[in-house]
Structure formats: C-alpha cells, structure tokens
C-alpha cells in the first residue's frame, strides 16, 4: 500500500473523529493519567542501583 493511500485513509478517519468530549470523560482521563503518573514517580523515587543497600 502506498503512503499516499494510507495518508488519505487516515485523513478520512481523522475527519470522522469527534473533536469534543464531555467533562466526565475529561476528568476520567485526567484521573487515569494522574494515577499512572503517580505510580511512575513512586517507582523512580524508589529505584536504586542493584549494589546499593536500600
């Protein structure tokens, strides 16, 4: 498949996507991302080199 065809298909698909959502969805996404981000921060703050005592 040519890149041009993929581009046209993707453009058509993007054109059909909704551009707005409701605030409940927005808050759900924010909560989800905050949870994942917090877990990531906790992981980084607790990660240690293998030879280092905790």
């Amino acid at each position: 498949m040519q890149i041009d065809q993929i581009a046209r298909w993707l453009e058509a698909w993007v054109g059909q996507l909704p551009t707005h959502s409701g605030r409940v969805y927005a808050l759900f996404v924010l909560t989800l991302l905050c949870t994942v981000a917090c877990a990531g921060i906790v992981f980084l703050w607790s990660a240690r080199p293998p030879d280092e005592p905790s």
Binding site: A7, E11, L17, T19, L27, V36, A47, P49, E52
Partner: protein, 610 residues
C-alpha cells in the same frame, strides 16, 4: 533514607523559591486567556476539546493542560491556586531529577543539576504565565530521570515510565516532540533487544497519547502524513542501526556519569538541530519547532538535561584537575564538593529577588469583567467601546471570563463607551466626577471606571491600505465578526476571532483607520495608544493621529489632538500606522481615550496602563 529526605528537602526548597511571588496573582496574557476559555468550555458548557489547541504551524497540542486547568476550577481554585499546582509539579520534577541523579550518577552532579534547573525556572516568568509550556518542565524532567535509570540499569519498567511521561509532555506542549528521538536512541544503545524495546516504548508513547487526547494524536499523525515526513522514517531506522552497531560498544564501556551525559546529549542534540532547522527554514515550513531556550516556554523540556550535562562536565573537570594535581581520593572528593557548593551558591545568588509586576493580572481582569458585566457591558458590547491605553490586552483577558452574550439592555447607545484607569490606591485623585466608580483590585490597586457619551463612531469605522498601483487608499468597512450560534451551541473559545478586528487581513503595508466623529460638546482631547507586548514599555511601530477632517483641531502631543466641535457636527479622524521599515508590530488596532473638560488630570498621570 537519607537520600529520600535530601530529595524531599530539595523539592521543598524548590517549591519555596519558585513560589516566591509575593501576593501577585499570575499575569494575564492572550495565551492564558485561550486556555482558560477552553477550560470554561469544558467545565461550564460540557464541551471539552480533545484536540487541544492548534499550534501556529499545524499540529495540535493535546488537552492535558486544559484538563488540569479545569480540575483547579472544578474545586473552586483561582489563578493563584493554579500557579501553586504548577509550581508544585515543577518542584516534584526537580526533586525527581535530584534523587535519580543522586542514586545513579553522583551527589555532586545531583546538587548542581537541581540547582541549575531551579535557577532557570526561578529566573523565568513561565510558572506565572499559566499557558501550557508553564508545566512542560515536569513531565519532561521525569522523562529524563526515567531515561537515566533505564540507561544505567536497563530496567524495562523505567523505559515504560519514560514513554508515559514523554507522551504527557508532548500532550502538554509540542516543544517536547524534540525529545522523541531519544526515546528510540537510548533503548537502541542500551537494550539487549533493541528493536523490541524501542517499538514497545514508542507504542506506549502512542497509546498514552491516544488516551490523553486521541483527537490531537490522530490529527498530528495526519499532519505527519500530509507533510510527507514519513519519508524520513527509513533514514531514521538506518541511523538507529548505525547507532546500534557503532555506538553500543562505546556505550557499554561508560560509567554512571557518562550514561547521564549520553542521555542528556540524546535530548539536546535533536533539540539543537531543531532550533537550527527552524531558524534556517522558517517556522512554518519546519516540523521541528522553533525553539528558543532563552525566550522561556519552548525551552522547558530541555532544562533538566542541560543542567545535568553542565553539572557532569563541571564534576568531570574537577576530577581531571584533582588528578593533574595528584590529590588524594579524599581531597578529590572535597574538590567535587567544593565545585558543587560554589556552583550552587553562584546559581542561587543569581536568582532575581522579585518577579516583575505584570500589567494585568488574571484576578484583576476577572474583577473588572465582573463589574462591567453587572452594568450590562458584556464582552461583545465592549469590543471597540473600551477606552484604556492597553485596551486590547485588557479585552483579550476579559474574554476568558465574560459570560454568554446577552441582548443589549434597553436604552443602550452604541455611542456610549467605558473608560478605565488603573492605578495604585495612593495615587487616586481626591476629587472624582460623580459618574466615576472605583473598584478595589489586588496589590493595593484600584480601577476607576466611567461611562461617557463618546464622539467616536466605531460602527462606521473604515480600514484602509494603499491601493495597488494607485496613489489612493483602498478602504473597507471594519466588520467585527459576531458569534451567531444559538446559546446552546455557544463556545467561549470562539471569541478568539473577536480579539483583533480588523484581523481579517494581516497588514502588509501602511494602515489607516478612518473613524467618524460626532461632536456633542465644545471641546475634547482624543488620544491614541498602541498595544504593547506584556513586558514592553514602548509599542513597536505605533499608531498616530494623521489628521482630523471637518472639525477644528490642534495637536497637543504626538498621540493627542484637541478637537473643537459643535453639537451635531460630524467629522472624521484619520489614524495611521506606517509599516514601511517596521520589522515587527502588534496586529491590534489602536486604543482611544477621550478626555472631557473637567476630568481629573491625576487619572491620566497615575494610570499604569499608559
């Protein structure tokens, strides 16, 4: 445990230093107004734009910043609360870089990197601007820290964390797109299964992008396809293969601090290349963003790696000097500590003591808007009817808080205008006219507001430019675009188009505005002012009064004329802006202020917006 406590102390100090803005609420700017309007659309009209805002060169920023603003507003927080949240996130970013550098590189590097990042952030007014780059440092710094852990340990979980935070960074501001090459390069150098690790990281990056703002991510993919940048893909794969076979043997010989330097360089090099490409090809033609580290916001994603790289170079330099001087291990350690202490103190002593006082703060604009709305002046009615030396910046801020347009109140006269002066409380003149009212603002400031019967007739204003090939002006009526949607479909952000009438065309040559004057009194002074950039004292290529026709007038200052009139006599005023030889100017029309005989002189002298 000691490391953790030290990291918490660094985070706390960062928060205290970044949050040292006295009692000043954040500044109001046009970008902040757009984002606050987007958050209002979401919160008040249940219409959240999942495509984020469109950037000036095509791609869309995601909706993460909108969601964050909305969250603060949902809990009743004002702009100060929003800035506190932003500062808290920035401090956590500094703390994360500190603790990771301390454990995986060295304490000296960690201290200097944290101090360097803190100084750059504290010297910048970004945290107080409340637009999306304000907080981009946080996800970008955590991304950098996670990549450091991955480079030092090959832990796949840290690569996943890095991919998540990079996606959040790009969703917050597109300048973080310059970090994407490092997400592919470091796994290729480090991982035993490079292609799996790289593809996995890029997949997580895309998934988080789709979850956070699938509209923006899909549109950006479409933008990449349309712009033909997929043709760069084979070249990128080839470069990664070369990196794998030539770079990996060298990479595996590196130690902790060298890993740090490589990760920092993998971020800084594409960013620097982006700056170069953008500066040579022009922002519109380049996918890579037009970055300018010194200008603040767009440099946010690279502050942490740049500070860390500088710290590593200083520490390595101290080590080399210690070796050349044949110092003992203890003395070399002391030398490192000394360099770290001196650099930290030098950095911290360079902190500006007070943030610059913004001309308009978000809370002042909110207060002024509330009072004007209470007297029937909604945003649509204020356009071209607000008299202040900085009227367009004030209107641009009011747009963020003004409610849904209402029908004009009975008796509303289009010749009525609102004049606003803002000054320190102590500068308030003792004698004010009866029809002037005073509003208390923060920072011991007051706004004096009065409604007047104006001579200006903005409804019949004409915008002119020189006609091509002729010695005449080509004029057309200034049409203020109106939002004609029904109230149920109204969106606050659609007011964007109202900001800069006549913005239907970008000025390319000299401009002239012709404003009809309908005289009602004997005499009036009319001044014209030009919009200034937020931190600028003087406007670029200012507007000036060229002539008054049909009424007797005398110029009394470069931007002011005294006009003599009689009730019912109609004239017109020509205001021009020669753009020939101008390199940069603000696109807004002029601001007018009419001074009536008997107006207290002190109002003009004390007004800070002039």
């Amino acid at each position: 445990m000691r490391e953790l406590l030290l990291a918490l102390v660094v985070t706390g100090i960062s928060f205290a230093l970044l949050n040292r803005y006295d009692a000043d609420p954040p500044a109001m700017g046009t970008d902040a107004a757009v984002w606050f309007s987007l958050a209002r659309d979401c919160l008040e009209l249940d219409s959240c734009r999942i495509t984020g805002a469109r950037s000036s060169f095509g791609p869309h920023t995601g909706s993460t910043w909108i969601d964050l603003l909305m969250l603060v507003q949902l809990f009743g927080g004002d702009s100060v609360a929003t800035r506190t949240l932003v500062v808290a996130l920035l401090s956590i970013g500094i703390g994360t870089v500190f603790i990771v550098s301390q454990r995986w590189l060295s304490r000296s590097v960690a201290l200097m990197a944290a101090a360097g990042a803190l100084v750059v952030l504290a010297s910048s007014d970004e945290p107080g601007r409340l637009w999306n780059p304000s907080s981009t440092f946080f996800p970008a710094a955590v991304y950098f820290a996670a990549m450091l852990v991955f480079a030092c340990s090959e832990q796949l979980l840290s690569l996943c964390v890095a991919a998540v935070f990079l996606s959040l960074a790009v969703n917050t501001h597109l300048s973080a797109a310059a970090l994407v090459p490092s997400l592919a390069a470091i796994p290729v150098l480090r991982s035993a299964r490079p292609w799996k690790a790289t593809l996995g990281a890029l997949t997580i990056f895309l998934i988080v992008g789709f979850v956070a703002a699938f509209g923006a991510t899909a549109l950006n993919l479409g933008f990449l396809l349309r712009a033909g940048h997929w043709s760069l893909l084979p070249g990128a794969v080839f470069l990664l293969a070369v990196l794998r076979f030539l770079g990996r043997p060298l990479f595996l010989k590196a130690d902790g601090e060298a890993f740090g330097a490589i990760v920092a360089l993998s971020i800084l090099l594409p960013w620097g290349l982006g700056t170069y490409v953008a500066s040579t090809q022009g922002q519109q033609q380049s996918f890579v963003l037009s970055f300018d580290l010194l200008s603040g916001g767009y440099g946010m994603p690279v502050i942490a790696p740049a500070a860390t790289l500088l710290a590593i170079l200083l520490v390595k330099g101290a080590d080399l000097a210690a070796r050349a001087l044949r110092l003992s291990h203890t003395s070399a350690g002391l030398a490192r500590g000394l360099v770290a202490s001196v650099v930290c103190l030098q950095f911290l002593s360079g902190l500006p003591r007070h943030a610059e006082k913004p001309r308009w703060t978000i809370e002042d604009v909110r207060t002024i808007e509330g009072h004007l709305a209470g007297r029937g002046w909604d945003y649509e009615r204020l356009v071209n009817h607000l008299q202040n030396a900085d009227c367009w910046n004030l209107l641009g801020g009011i747009v963020a808080f003004a409610g849904i347009p209402t029908a004009a109140p009975a008796g509303f006269n289009s010749f009525n205008q609102v004049r606003i002066w803002v000054m320190d409380d102590e500068a308030l003149p003792l004698q004010l006219a009866n029809d002037m009212w005073i509003i208390r603002l923060r920072r011991d400031r007051v706004a004096v507001i009065s409604e007047i019967r104006s001579w200006l007739d903005p409804a019949n204003m004409q915008y002119c430019q020189p006609a091509e090939g002729a010695d005449e002006l080509d004029c057309s009526a200034v049409v203020v675009p109106r939002n004609n949607r029904p109230a149920t479909e109204f969106l606050f952000t659609e007011r964007e188009g109202l900001w800069y009438p006549p913005s239907q065309r970008v000025p390319t040559s000299d401009e002239t505005l012709i404003i009809p004057l309908a005289a009602t009194e004997q005499i009036k002074e009319i001044s014209v002012y030009s919009t200034r950039a937020p931190n600028s004292e003087a406007a670029q290529c200012p507007w000036r009064i060229a002539a008054v026709e049909g009424l007797a007038f005398e110029p009394i200052a470069p931007n002011t004329v005294r006009v003599k009139g009689r009730d019912g006599v109609v004239g017109r005023m020509l205001v021009e802006r020669p753009l020939t030889g101008c390199s940069r100017w603000d696109p807004q029309p002029p601001c007018f202020i009419e001074k009536n005989p008997g107006d207290p002189e002190g109002l003009w002298k004390a007004d800070f917006s002039r």
